[in-house]
Amino acid sequence: MGVEGIGARVARKEDKRFITGRGRYVDDVKIVGLTHAHFIRSPHAHAKVKGIDASAAKDMPGVVDVLTAQQLVDDKIGNLICGWAVSSKDGSPMKMGAWPAMAPDTVRFVGQAVAVVIAETKNQAKDAAEAVVVEYEELPAVSSMTAALASGAPQLHPEAPGNVVYDWSIGDEKLTKDAFSKAANIVSLDLTNNRLVPNAMEPRAAVAEYDEAEEHFTLHTTSQNPHVARLVLSAFYNVAQEHKLRVIAPDVGGGFGSKIFIYPEEMVALWASKKVRRPVKWTGDRTEAFLTDAHGRDHISHAEMAFDTNNKILGLRVKTHANFGAYMSLFSSSVPTYLYATLLSGQYNIPTIYAEVMGVYTNTTPVDAYRGAGRPEASYLVERLMETSARQLKVDPAELRRINFVTQFPHQTPVIMAYDIGDFGASLDAALKAIDYAGFPARKAKAKAAGKLRGLGFSCYIEACGIAPSKAVGSLGAGVGLWESAEVRVNPVGTIEVLTGSHSHGQGHETTFAQLVAGRLGISVDQVQIVHGDTDKVQFGMGTYGSRSAAVGMSAIFKAMEKVEAKAKKIAAHLLEASEGDIVIENGEFKVTGTDKAIALPMVALAAYTAHNLPDGMEPGLKEGAFYDPTNFTFPAGAYICEVEIDPGTGKVDIVDFVAVDDFGRLINPMIVEGQVHGGLAQGIGQALLEGAVYDDNGQPVTASFMDYAMPRADDVPSFRVSHTTTLCPGNPLGVKGCGEAGAIGSSPAVINAITDALGHNRIEMPATPGRVWEALQLQQAAE
C-alpha cells in the first residue's frame, strides 16, 4: 500500500494554497473588460410587478445596461427546472409553478430578482440600482405551511391549487394500520425540523464571458457539479449550446448542497454577457446568500410507533409536511421523499411503515438539499421517537434500540432501501463504553448538587450515501443518472493526472484520490495530480454531493486504474521478457515475482509513449477512462451519545461530552474523515441549539444576517470524541461508505434527546436556544 496509500493520515495537499491565501475562487477571476452585475431584488414576499423604470439608471455613471425580467421572456430564456419528478399518491404528477430567473410579473419571496444592473464597477451598479424604480402591488403572503394550507389562503401558483405541490406516500397503509391495531403500546410525537441557511463561507458567484467570434461561452461559477450545470444551462434554458459552453468551478469555499443547484444569477450572467458583449461578474454578498441560497430542512411531522408486549416495533406511521418555499429548486422534490422517507426504518427491524409527505409552497426562499438532505430529518424523527418510546415504555433507551436492531444483512426495509451490511450493536457498545454510560447517574447527581440539570441522549442513525444506481433512481423519477467517471493519465515520465467528475469544495479530494492511486502503485501522492471542476478538461461527471465521491467517484478511479495497470503490466512483461501474470507492482516498480528483475513506472510510461517497443498490436499511450455506476446505496451508520448540562437560571445548554462512533467502511484518510465528522457534528449541533431561519407573518425574513442567525462558533461545540467501527461495504471495490454528512445527520437528535432527558419532558423544539429551554423549564415548574 505504501505509506501514503489508503488508510494513511496524509496532510491535505490542497491546504498549502488555502492557508497561504492562494486559493483561486470565482471572485478572483479577472478578465479584461469585466463588468459587474447587481441584482434588483424584491423587498416583498408576494407582489405583482407593475412596472420597472430604468431610464434614469441607464444614464448613471458607468452603467452598461439595465436588463429586466421581460427581456429574458422576450429572448425565450427558459424557466428554472426541477430535475426529479415525484407523483402524488393518486398518481398525478407534481404541480409546479414556473420559476423564471427574474420575475416578469409576480415576485414570490423576498430577494427574488426582477432586474439586473450591469456597470463598470460593482459600486456603480449598486448606485444605479437605487435609481431603478420598480412599482409593486403587494399581495397577501403566506410564510408558514399552516398559513399556506389554510382554507382561503393566498395562492402562490395557479398550477398548484391549495399551495400543494404533491401529496406523496410510501409503504403499505393497510398493513401498517393492521400492525397498529395489534399494538400493546403506541408512542406518538410531533416535531419540527427547523429551516436552515447553508452559509458556505464563500458566497455564490459567477463570471460569464462570451466569445462572439466563436459563439462560445465560458462560465466560472461556484458549483459542486460543473457538468450538471452545463447540461442544465444548455438543455433547458436556451442560453448556450452544450458544446459552446465551458463551465469552470475552480476552488469553491464550501457548498453543503447549496451549490448543487443552478441558480438564476449564473443564468442571467451568461445571458447578459452576450447581450452587453462584455464579460459579466456577479458575486453575492452575505445578505444575498441568506435570501437566495436554497435553504434546508423545514419539516413538520407527526409520527407514531407501535410496539408489541416485548417492546419490539410493529410499525411506524408518519405524516410530514415539507416546506418548499416559493419555487421548486433543482432537486427539492426528492429531498423529503426519496432521500427522507426511505430512511425511516432507521437501524431497526420495522415490519411495516407508512409515510405521507405533503409538499407545500410558501412565500419564502426555495428549499433544497442541505448537508444530509432528507436523512437528517429522518434520523431526527426516528431517534427522537425511539428515545421518547424508551421513556414511555420505561425501558433503557440503549436496550430498546438493541432489541430492535437489524442484525441480519442484507436487510430489505419496507421503504425501498436494502441495507447491505452493518453492525449497529458494535457501534452502540463502543459509544456506551466511551461515554461511561454506567457512570451517568453519578454524574447527574453531582451536577444536580451544583445546581445544574444533566441529561444524556442517544442517536443511532443510518443514512444512505453513494447516490446512486442510475437505473434505480431513474425508476423513482430522477432526471439524471448518478454514476461517476474518471480518467487516469500516466504521463510519459510517469507522473499521473486523474481527471474526475467529482468536485472538491472542502472534502480533500486532491489528497484522498491521490492516495488511492499512490497506494496502488507504491508512489508518493506528490506524483499524482487530481484534476476536476472544468468541463473542458474533464470528461462528463455528476459532481459531489450526498457523500458520494469516495463510494462512486473513487470507484470510477479504481476501475480506470485497473485498466491502466493491466496495460502497464503488459508493457512491463514485454520489456522484461516475462509473463504478464508474473508482474507485480511494488514501490513504483513493475517486478517479476520471485526474481530481482524490475522496471520502474517512468520507464514503462516512456515505453508506452515512445512506442518503439510495445507488444504487437498494442496502441501507444497509457491513459484509461472508466464510468462507475453503483450497485446500491451505501449505508454509513453509527451511534452518537451526547451529554448536556443545563443552567436552569439561563436555560443555556452546555454539551459536556459528545461521543461519535461511526461505521464508514474503509477509511481512506482517517484525519480527513475526522475533520468531516467534526464539521458535520458542528452543523448538527448548530441545528439543534442555535440555527433557525425565521420569517414573520408577512414573509419578511427575520434572520437575514449573522447578527440574528446564530451559526455555531468554536466555543459552542465540545471537543468531540470520534472513533470508528468497521464493516466493509460490499457494494463497491473500495469497501467505502461515505463520511461527509453523517455528523450532521446523526447529531441533532442526540442533542435534543439529551436536553429532553435533562428537562424531564419533550416540549422543546430546535433550535433549543437558552430562551426556549428556559421557557421549557418554566412549563415543567408550572406542572409541578
Binding site: 437560571g649 439561563t650 436555560g651 433557525g692 449573522f706 442567525y709 446564530a710 430562551g771 421557557e775
Partner: protein, 266 residues
C-alpha cells in the same frame, strides 16, 4: 459603500475643525459599527474623520478616586491594562466578554458609548458606576448621557474624549450572550460606591436601552448578596421580546445576571 473622503487628524481640535467644515461628516473610531453600516449603504457620511490615531485620545490612568479611559482606547488595551485591572476589575472583565478578538482589537470605549446600542456592554458600566463622559466641549453625567436606543446627549459635532469611572467599593458584571451577535441578550452591572450607594444597570433587556433596576438596587442596598435577590420580581413590561428571548425570559435574566454579578463582585 457610497463614496466618502477620509481624514486622519492629529489632534482633537483638528478633528473638530474638520467637522465644522464638513457638517455631513462622521467621526470614526474602531469602525466596527460605522463601517458595516456604511457598507450596507445605511449611512452615507460625506467625510469620515478618524479619531483612532489621535494620541491625546488614547490611554488609561487611575487616580485614587477614578479610572479614566480615553475615548479612542481599544478594548484590547483596556483588557491588558494593569491600572484598569487594579482599579475596577469588573470593567476589564466586561471588556473581555465584549465581541470577539477582532472586535476588541479595534473597537473603542468612546465608539461604544457614542453608539449606545441597546445591547452594548459599556453603557451598563457607565450607568451603574455613575461615570462622567468628557467631551471636547463639556462634561456629561452618565445618568444624563443615554437617551434611548442609539441616542445620546452628544451633539453631532461633539467628540467624547474620555470616560471617568469613580472607583467603587465593589462592582461586578454578568452577561448572557446573544446566541447570534454575542452582544448582551441581557447584561447586568452591579456597583456599590464607596459611600455605600448601590447602583445597578441592565443592558440588552429594555426596549429603551440601558436602564437602572431599582428593585434590585433596593434589595442589594438592604443586603448585598446574591441570595437577597431570590425573592425579587422583575416586571417584563417594557422589555424586549424577539426570537432569542421573550420579555419574561429577559426579566428572569436581569435577576439571574444581577445575582451572578454580585457573586463576581464579592
Amino acid at each position: 459603500m457610497y463614496e466618502t473622503t477620509y481624514h486622519r487628524p492629529a489632534s482633537i481640535d483638528e478633528a473638530a475643525a474638520l467637522f465644522a467644515k464638513h457638517p455631513e461628516a462622521k467621526y470614526l473610531a474602531g469602525g466596527h459599527t460605522l463601517i458595516p453600516v456604511m457598507k450596507q449603504r445605511l449611512a452615507a457620511p460625506s467625510d469620515v474623520i478618524d479619531l483612532a490615531k489621535i494620541k491625546e485620545m488614547i490611554g488609561i490612568e487611575a487616580t485614587s478616586d477614578a479610572l479614566i479611559i480615553k475615548a479612542a482606547t481599544t478594548y484590547y488595551d483596556i483588557t491588558q491594562s494593569a491600572a484598569a485591572k487594579k482599579a475596577i476589575p469588573a470593567i476589564v472583565y466586561l471588556t473581555s466578554v465584549l465581541g470577539d478578538p477582532a472586535v476588541r482589537y479595534r473597537g473603542t470605549i468612546g465608539g461604544s458609548i457614542a453608539n449606545n446600542d441597546p445591547a452594548a456592554d459599556y453603557p451598563a458600566a457607565v450607568l451603574a458606576l455613575g461615570a462622567t463622559i468628557k467631551t471636547n466641549t463639556r462634561e456629561i453625567k452618565g445618568d444624563d448621557f443615554f437617551q434611548g436606543l442609539f441616542s445620546t446627549a452628544l451633539e453631532d459635532n461633539e467628540i467624547i474624549t474620555s470616560v471617568s469611572f469613580p472607583i467603587p467599593a465593589k462592582a461586578g458584571y454578568a452577561k448572557m450572550r446573544h446566541p447570534a451577535s454575542r452582544f448582551a441578550l441581557t447584561g447586568v452591572f452591579v456597583a456599590q460606591t464607596k459611600s455605600g450607594e448601590v447602583r445597578v444597570a441592565a443592558t440588552g433587556a429594555s426596549q429603551n436601552g440601558v436602564m437602572r433596576v431599582p428593585a434590585i438596587e433596593a434589595a442589594l442596598k438592604a443586603n448585598w448578596s446574591a441570595g437577597a435577590l431570590d425573592g425579587v420580581k422583575i416586571s417584563a413590561d417594557g422589555l424586549m421580546s424577539d426570537i432569542h428571548g421573550s420579555a419574561e425570559y429577559r426579566a428572569n435574566l436581569i435577576k439571574v445576571m444581577a445575582q451572578r454579578a454580585v457573586e463576581a463582585a464579592g
